[in-house]
Symmetry: D2
Subunit: 315 residues, 4 copies
């Protein structure tokens, strides 16, 4: 099959990972790297033998750029993604996709109008163990889904500036619980606070209630000395757990705990591969702009709930 | 010092543990055991060489009974405790102390009127590691307390009948978070459901908000294949964790994780010892009838919140 | 079925556990407790409502004593066991059974001569998980047995005086590896030393080679801050692990790790039950005096190897 | 400081890691990559923008190549290293350095004759936690060193062909125990076998005795479903443990377990950095050809002990 020509906007730590994977994948040909900071763009571009840009509009003129992954600071994600879509390229935009619901909606609308694919970077879905949990949920192996609890905590991040833990961390679990339960939450109640970082919340506890009465509790903070990324899904027949860091999963039933072994894979690689294949085959990606929009909506509702001190109903 | 004469009402699994400890403690002299089921009373009484009763009123006439521990089914706790207090004996009543707030209040009032001590069996406080966490919180070692998350889950219990997980399990963590934060919650939002047991809730997720904006998330269910009893307390300076089953604690700061080793002790023994010493020295016990009343109030508010689907404010 | 009349010689910590279990088992009737220290004997006897003796010969005159469990200091085990067998009672003797091979052999011979059963207290065999590992080994689930590694370490013991770690700790694993491999070792090479306790070795590493070329590595010491009791059995098809303290086992194959859940049982209870049933049904116990003799032989060979600095061949 | 010009011989999986790190380090400038398989050499060279060679002699003529890292199949390590030294370049040779003692000695002699540095790739020494253990040992924090136990097991390796587990895996722990104890073993006793792989041993248990009576037990095999790389060092004052995979260490004393947190670092990067700095500053590297020779000697003695069934004394 032919290779999809891809460019990357955002040459920081995460953009570098995008570039590396796009260079290595059989499905893609890394064409160019862009960053407002020219030096950064050059450093990454040189590492992979491609061209560097400091103005994305210039880069987007290239015919050999068919799709673009957007990995900038959260604040700029939406603006850059709009440029990509305007230039009639497909886009994979890192979470949280946009700062607010309005920006997110604009992206969804423009993608539809220009008939371009938009995928959102909720890469947790691509961990092999997560796929197994999804399969187990669909096949009834877990039984009736009761609730999920997610813990996504870490130290004070080096790279931070423009969003708090809800849009930076919890949003992954908001997407995952939507994915696993296969439906949208109808209510959210959250508590959040700023212990050290005055501008944004550095700790949050969110309780989501779903249509079929399942609930999800999400804990996110930047106050824990080391990274913990865990998920527990409790069902009537079994409990499944996932450690996002080791990628180990367990299925616990009354008689035993079973921990199947999967080869550890780089979820970003699988995500970019899925993105490329979706475009090459003109199929809707697993995670669309609509998923991104919904995640932002729920995140904003959580922040509103925390501010107001009440539960917020979601339509 | 002289030994306190103690009797036990309720000769089931837990009452047997009470009897064993009271027999072994230096501070107490086990005098008698009572159970509506005469055979049960005899079995336990014989094991420890004391007298058996099937009518607590008869047993309460004995002068050598100065204090009584009440370990019956939840449904009968309050009624039996009232008999004990009416007979002017001191009482240690197992959690949840009473079925509802009214019963709990009556106990508190009668104890006050008759000037008898009432202690409630929230034995988790007596785990050495819990005492260390309380100390660390008081000394500022954890810094500003942000939140606590508690997980108290297990299999379908053998002994069950008259309360759900909120009053059977979560009530321990309700008491513990009051104890650690040193204040009462001002709001509770909970979700609960009955997956298998139609009469009472078998799973619950409770979010408590405290006066100084700390929060506590409590998860309790009877749907997990094995017992897990864990607590995590997150503060601005450190995270402390406790595994109630192994009694191991850790203190996690940015530079290290420290796990001090404490001799494993039977919390029930320490609780009964504290009860006896409180009476012998005429000091108010660490956990009073008022603590029990508050725990029941919060538990009932949680159940109300779950029923109504709204947050409940607590005065 | 009728109850076997049993007495206990040795009223220390472990003897008390024997007495408690014998009191509780359906198969046994605890008749008396004996200890050279009369106060100790009385304390335990009174706890269980039986008679106390300070001279075992007196106690052994009783007709209602059919079998005796011997739980004295290691130094006295053999002497007391000989008294028991001379009095024509059956005996369960705690490990290591005897101080040396000669004493052990005398016990085996006398038991045979007087046609009495002798069982040795290698209670590790009775942990449900150990039974599962034995079954897995026999059924070929582990494949060809390659080797076992055992780690049995702890802090400086409170109760110690007359044997080092080889005869106190490692002897359990010597018995277990004989049990699992189903054969006797042909060679032993060991290193041991006395770091703190001048009289006996407080650390040892033993490498046993078995007839079919399986090997077993046993590590035992009193230098570790907390108790660790673990076993790993490596086979061509699977690895099985057992944590003696939690009783958890795992079976690890290339595709998964499986941890079946067994009810935690008190191995001492199962051992005493097996002992009683062996006598009541006149069947040879699972662990005979010959097993005890062999374990002592191997333990002594290990100590010899450590002293001489050479491997020792075993016939 | 100036950058050291470095080339890599061996463009397989591990050689690629060498190349990547040499490309990224400030101290080095990756100049060329060589592999008998021209396609492999080109693939890696192109990835990093350097020249490819299929004949190392050609590459060694380059003046800008000052040092070379040798990462070929074990069988070819010594031969290629000799070419490097003959061409008067410094060499870092991957373990096991050579197939046998004679080859290893030739390397040591030639390096001395031509006054070139030789370093051996025992990268485990460079894990931050290992450095901490070494420091703790030197400062007496662990007390008197009693023994070390190492477990280095994994699944059947993809890349294998010319050495068994002793020279492929155990040799790391042979080096580490020499490093931590600061002396050479005086005796080795080993058992090894070939369960699946007829040509070389796929499982081994090695017991080393050191001059001051410390011992080290090393277990290595390719029969375990997943990678385990652990070390436990037992001393009179403390036990230290290291998990090579997570890089987590613990220090266990009677009162507590302490787990200091170190930033996870790529040991290969630190090793290559140390190599480069040693040459740039003309200082002897931490791990010399002599360390490599000794490790091979001990490994061969272990294999001899396993073949003969006796302990082997080492001078």
């Amino acid at each position: 099959m032919r290779k999809l020509g891809v460019a990357v906007i955002g040459a920081g730590f995460w953009g570098r990972n995008h570039a590396r994977n796009l260079k290595e994948l059989n499905e893609t040909r890394l064409v160019a790297v862009c960053d407002k900071d020219e030096a950064k763009a050059k450093a990454v571009a040189e590492l992979f033998g491609v061209e560097a840009y400091s103005d994305s509009r210039e880069m987007l003129k290239r015919k050999d750029v068919e799709a673009v992954t957007v990995c900038t600071w959260s604040t700029n994600l939406a603006a850059e993604t709009m440029k990509v879509l305007k230039a009639r390229k497909h886009a994979l935009v890192e979470k949280p996709m946009a700062n607010n619901v309005q920006e997110a909606r604009k992206i969804v609308d423009l993608a539809k109008k220009n008939q371009r694919h938009v995928m959102v970077g909720f890469l947790m879905r691509f961990i092999p163990g997560m796929q197994r949990i999804k399969e187990a949920a669909e096949k009834g192996e877990i039984g009736t889904l009761v609730y999920a609890t997610a813990r996504r905590v870490s130290e004070w991040p080096e790279r931070i500036g423009d969003v708090g833990v809800v849009k930076d961390l919890a949003i992954h679990d908001i997407d995952i619980t939507r994915y696993l339960f296969g439906e949208d939450p109808v209510e959210v109640y959250a508590k959040a606070g700023s212990l050290r970082y005055k501008q944004f919340e550095d700790h949050a506890q969110i309780l989501l209630t779903f249509k079929n009465r399942e609930t999800a509790f999400i804990e996110a903070n930047w106050l824990t000395p080391y990274k913990i990324r865990k998920l527990v899904v409790t069902g009537s027949k079994a409990i499944m757990t996932l450690d996002y860091i080791t990628q180990e999963i367990t299925m616990e039933t009354s008689g035993q705990t079973l921990a199947p072994r999967y080869e550890v894979k780089e979820p970003l690689k699988l995500e970019l591969q899925h993105f490329a294949n979706s475009i090459l085959n003109d199929k809707e990606p697993m995670i669309t702009g609509l998923d991104g929009l919904k995640a932002v909506q729920i995140a904003e509702a959580a922040l509103k709930s925390a501010r107001r001190g009440t539960a917020i109903k979601l339509k």
